[in-house]
C-alpha cells in the first residue's frame, strides 16, 4: 500500500459517491453540482494514470465548459428557483432493475478480464508528454517507433497517426456549433398577419430597400 493506492482509493471514492448522489437527488441544480465533483474526480484519476494532458483537458472542457452549459440550460428552462423532478416508483424500479442487471454483467466481464500472472513491475516508463499527443494529431507518431525499426524514418508510422480524425472532429465541431446556434436562435413573434404584410410590401415595390421601407411604414401605421 503506497501513495499510488491511497490516491486512487480517495479519487475513486469521490467519483463513485458523487455519481451515485447525482442519480439519487431530485434537485436538478444539485445534480449539476454532483456532476462537477464527479468530473473532477475523473480528472484526478486521469492525472493518476499518467494522462496529464487529458486530465487538464477534462478540467477545462468538461468542468469548465460542459457543466457551465448545463447550468445555463437549468437556469434558462426553470420556471421556479428549485426545480424538483418527480420520479415515480415504477421508474425507480425500472432504473434499479437495469442497474442491477448491467452491474452483474459488467462486473463479471471485468473479473474475467485477463490479468498478468506475475506481480506487477515497478513503474519505469515515463508518461506520455503532450508533445507526443500533438505530433500524433498532426500525423506523426514519435512514440510508435520501436527499437527494432529504429532505422526507419518517421514516415513509416504515418498510418497510425490521427490527422484525418482530427480534421473530421474540427469540421464536426463547426457543424454542431452552427446547428446549435440555428436551433437556439431567438424567434421573433412573426405571425401570419405580418408575414402577409411583408409579402405584400415586397410585391408592391421593386427592391428590398423599398420593401423594408414599406414594411416599416406598415408597422408604424398598425401600431
Amino acid at each position: 500500500m503506497d501513495w499510488n493506492w491511497v490516491f486512487f482509493i480517495i479519487l475513486a471514492a469521490i467519483t463513485v459517491t458523487s455519481a451515485v448522489a447525482a442519480v439519487i437527488t431530485s434537485h436538478i441544480v444539485r445534480m449539476a453540482f454532483y456532476l462537477v465533483v464527479c468530473l473532477g474526480g475523473v480528472a484526478g484519476l486521469f492525472f493518476l494514470a499518467g494522462a496529464y494532458f487529458l486530465g487538464a483537458v477534462q478540467l477545462m472542457v468538461y468542468v469548465g465548459g460542459t457543466v457551465v452549459l448545463i447550468a445555463f440550460g437549468v437556469m434558462l428552462t426553470a420556471r421556479t428557483p428549485f426545480v424538483r423532478m418527480q420520479t415515480t416508483p415504477d421508474q425507480w424500479l425500472l432504473g434499479l432493475a437495469t442497474a442491477a442487471t448491467l452491474s452483474a454483467v459488467l462486473v463479471q466481464a471485468n473479473l474475467r478480464f485477463p490479468r498478468p500472472a506475475d506481480p506487477p513491475p515497478a513503474v519505469t516508463e515515463p508518461a506520455v508528454s503532450p508533445g507526443g499527443l500533438g505530433t500524433a494529431l498532426l500525423g506523426l507518431r514519435i512514440d510508435a517507433a520501436s527499437p527494432a525499426e529504429e532505422g526507419t524514418d518517421g514516415a513509416a508510422s504515418l498510418g497510425l497517426a490521427y490527422l484525418l480524425p482530427f480534421e473530421l472532429v474540427s469540421v464536426h465541431l463547426l457543424t454542431v456549433l452552427i446547428g446549435a446556434a440555428y436551433l437556439a436562435r431567438p424567434r421573433r413573434p412573426t405571425g401570419t398577419e405580418s408575414e402577409g404584410r411583408r409579402e405584400a410590401a415586397w410585391g408592391q415595390s421593386g427592391g428590398p430597400d423599398a420593401a423594408l421601407a414599406a414594411l416599416a411604414a406598415a408597422q408604424d401605421g398598425g401600431s
Partner: protein, 113 residues
C-alpha cells in the same frame, strides 16, 4: 525513472470505477424525466468510457495493453464530441422549452404514431 518506484494499480480497479459510472449514467437516463437530467446521465456514461480508455493505455496501470498514446487520443476525441453533443442537446432543450414550456420529456410525444 520514477523514484521511489510506485506499484502499479491493476486495470480491474479502474474498470470497476468505469462500471459504476456507466451504470449510474444509464440509471440516470432511465429514471429522470428531465431533459437536462438525461444529458447529465449521458455525460456520466461518456466519462466511464474515457476512464477505461485512459486506464488501458496508462503505463501506471498493470495489465494495460494499448500503446500509451492511443487511449489518450481516443479519450480526447470523446471529450470533444461530448462537448459538441452537450451544445446541440442544450439547443434542442431550449427549443423544446420554447414550444412546450417544460423540458419534461414525457410531454414531447407529438410525433407518437
Amino acid at each position: 525513472m520514477i523514484d521511489p518506484p510506485l506499484t502499479q494499480i491493476p486495470l480491474a480497479a479502474y474498470l470497476l470505477v468505469g462500471v459504476v459510472l456507466f451504470v449510474t449514467g444509464i440509471t440516470c437516463m432511465i429514471a429522470k424525466r428531465n431533459l437536462i437530467g438525461i444529458l447529465i446521465g449521458i455525460e456520466l456514461v461518456l466519462n466511464a468510457g474515457t476512464i477505461n480508455l485512459a486506464a488501458m493505455s496508462s503505463p501506471f496501470v498493470a495489465g494495460s495493453s494499448l500503446p500509451p498514446l492511443d487511449g489518450q487520443i481516443f479519450a480526447l476525441f470523446v471529450i470533444l464530441l461530448a462537448a459538441a453533443e452537450a451544445a446541440a442537446a442544450l439547443a434542442i432543450a431550449l427549443t423544446f422549452y420554447g414550444g412546450y414550456a417544460t423540458i419534461d420529456v414525457d410531454h414531447g410525444d407529438r410525433l407518437k404514431g
